[in-house]
């Protein structure tokens, strides 16, 4: 009950933060329309370029959304809000869950906007394929949501912007969001251990049918596990300072 109550107000706050909302939706959208728009008929890795680029921009945009949501903890920490919450009966997990939920809410909005844009430049998938794609994306975002919570306890507000920008850009670039970085050779093995690679692959996977290979699930699970352990450690260190 408590959980839902707190969640409701967190959703309200995210919804009212229009500037944050617009800016996190608009950049992937602009990039997508500017780059995929003129190349509607191109194919890349046997996938229509607009589909590939749509998934790439979704991966980037939704990654930023979930990381930023968790990282907002840094701001609430800096004004003493998290300390205030720690003397209330609200469990810390509920607080984190609310941040993750709001991150996913933003991610889903970002996905919806880019799917609409994709459809407008001719991306066509059947209902099942859309579902598989969105499903894979939502699962693939889990480690990034956890990384967001970790960032919220790791960084101060002034270093948070560059940290989120840098890390998400790197993940996006290496994962192939802006176009496949490597298509073969030993480097491919390296980028395949990144969760962002599998986010970008979600569109291609859905088009081909079926789901991710086992390798992808292992990568996502491993990143989730490792980032959770790190997040718990960072959280402990941060609250121990008192």
């Amino acid at each position: 009950m408590i959980e839902l109550t707190y969640l409701r107000y967190e959703v309200l706050r995210t919804w009212r933060n229009r500037r944050f909302m617009i800016f996190s939706l608009i950049f992937p959208l602009i990039l997508f329309l500017a780059i995929a728009g003129p190349h509607k008929n191109l194919k890349i890795e046997n996938v229509p370029f607009p589909l590939y680029y749509m998934t790439g921009m979704i991966a980037w945009g939704s990654m930023v959304a979930v990381i930023s949501s968790g990282a907002r903890i840094a701001a609430e920490r800096s004004v003493g809000w998290t300390r205030q919450l720690r003397v209330t009966p609200l469990p810390t997990w509920s607080y984190f869950n609310a941040k993750i939920f709001c991150g996913y809410m933003m991610a889903i909005l970002s996905i919806a906007v880019l799917i609409a844009a994709g459809t407008s430049v001719g991306v066509r998938l059947d209902a099942e394929q859309w579902l598989v794609m969105v499903g894979l994306l939502l699962v693939g975002l889990i480690p990034f949501a956890v990384i967001g919570i970790m960032f919220g306890h790791l960084f101060k507000i002034d270093s948070l912007g560059p940290a989120i920008g840098g890390v998400t850009s790197l993940f996006a670039l290496l994962g192939g969001s802006y176009g496949p970085l490597v298509t073969g050779g030993p480097l491919l093995k390296v980028v395949k251990v990144l969760p962002s690679y599998w986010l970008v692959q979600a569109g291609k996977t859905a088009l081909r049918g079926g789901g991710w290979p086992l390798e992808a699930w292992v990568v996502i699970a491993a990143w989730t596990l490792v980032s959770s352990v790190l997040a718990v450690r960072v959280y402990r260190q941060d609250t121990m300072k008192d």
């Binding site: 408590i2 109550t5 707190y6 107000y9 309200l12 706050r13 995210t14 009212r16 933060n17 609430e76 004004v79 003493g80 809000w81 300390r83 205030q84 720690r86 003397v87 209330t88 009966p89 609200l90 121990m240 008192d242």
Partner: protein
């Protein structure tokens, strides 16, 4: 601390025993024991750096002591927090944005098991007049009222306020303490930290005076004054060494500025007789009752001198 074994009593008080906390080489709290009886209002009084905030943070479980234990009506701080038994206004803290004052206080109210009516909390704290305003559009004093409302709305057994009137003007302070008293009158236990002597004197049943991480005096405001004798004697007395004056009957401490001496006395009558007999050339004698201010300065300075 023999009462700790008695569970029935333990349920009716907040106990801290042997609390120690250091930050690096700074010993913030050194072996502190206290007992707060349910339903009383207690002031933790002391200058900055006395260890008030650290003590409070250990009581409410925000800070883990290096040693010692805290029991809040028979529970650990974590259990008490989880059960919603603590309403707290920590020393620093702003509000989160994108909510109105009423929404924010409602959100906190719903986290607690048996909250106060939100409008009632807003009324007591004086935040009702701007309840529909967004939190980021508040002045410092208004923010402080909202933080008070957040602590009140919990309707918790133990209300902890760390320097609650810092951002308030004179009128705001008076309103605040009236509100705090109204709340305490409902049988709640209130602990507040302050370095305003008059606040501790006027609004607490009991004052715990802290200095350098220790309790240096503990009692009713009148007892605190009695502890240091309650009289200050000033006079012009050239050429007499301080140890000589210190040796007089009824003197607790002495100070000199040029020819002017200040004696803090536990028995000023005896001191005066001694002075007049021994130093017939003494002049400009002035004796007056020591306020809490002097009691405070004497106790804390004394402590410093013995460091």
């Amino acid at each position: 601390m023999t009462d700790i074994s008695s569970t029935t009593l333990l349920h009716d008080k907040v106990v801290a025993a042997g609390l120690i906390k250091s930050y690096g080489s700074v010993r913030a709290v050194r072996s502190l024991d206290l007992e707060l009886i349910r339903g009383t209002t207690v002031a933790l009084l002391g200058p900055n750096g006395a260890g008030k905030t650290t003590t409070i943070d250990m009581i409410i479980g925000l800070t883990k002591p290096d040693a010692g234990m805290v029991s809040i009506f028979g529970r650990t701080p974590a259990e008490a927090v989880k059960a919603g038994m603590i309403g707290a206004m920590t020393q620093t803290g702003q509000l989160i944005d994108y909510l109105s004052v009423r929404e924010l206080v409602t959100m906190i109210a719903r986290i607690y098991p048996t909250p106060l009516d939100v409008d009632e909390a807003l009324t007591i704290s004086g935040a009702i007049s701007f309840a529909d305003r967004q939190t980021r559009k508040l002045s410092g004093g208004e923010t402080q009222r909202v933080r008070f409302a957040m602590a009140l709305v919990a309707d918790a057994e133990l209300l902890v306020l760390d320097e609650p009137t810092v951002a308030l003007d004179v009128e705001g302070r008076r309103d605040f303490w009236h509100a705090m008293r109204a709340f305490a009158a409902r049988g709640k236990t209130v602990v507040f930290a302050t370095h305003y002597l008059e606040e501790a004197d006027a609004y607490a049943d009991r004052i715990i005076l802290m200095s350098h991480g220790r309790i240096v005096a503990d009692g009713a405001p009148t007892e605190i004054k009695a502890t240091v004798g309650g009289r200050i004697l000033r006079a012009t007395l050239p050429g007499v060494a301080l140890p000589e004056l210190q040796a007089l009957n009824g003197v607790t401490s002495v100070d000199r500025k040029g020819d002017a001496v200040t004696l803090i006395c536990s028995d000023s009558d005896a001191t005066l007789r001694g002075l007049l007999t021994t130093y017939p050339f003494i002049r400009d004698i002035e004796v007056r009752g020591a306020g809490l201010e002097e009691a405070f300065l004497e106790l804390t300075l004394d402590d410093e001198a013995t460091e």
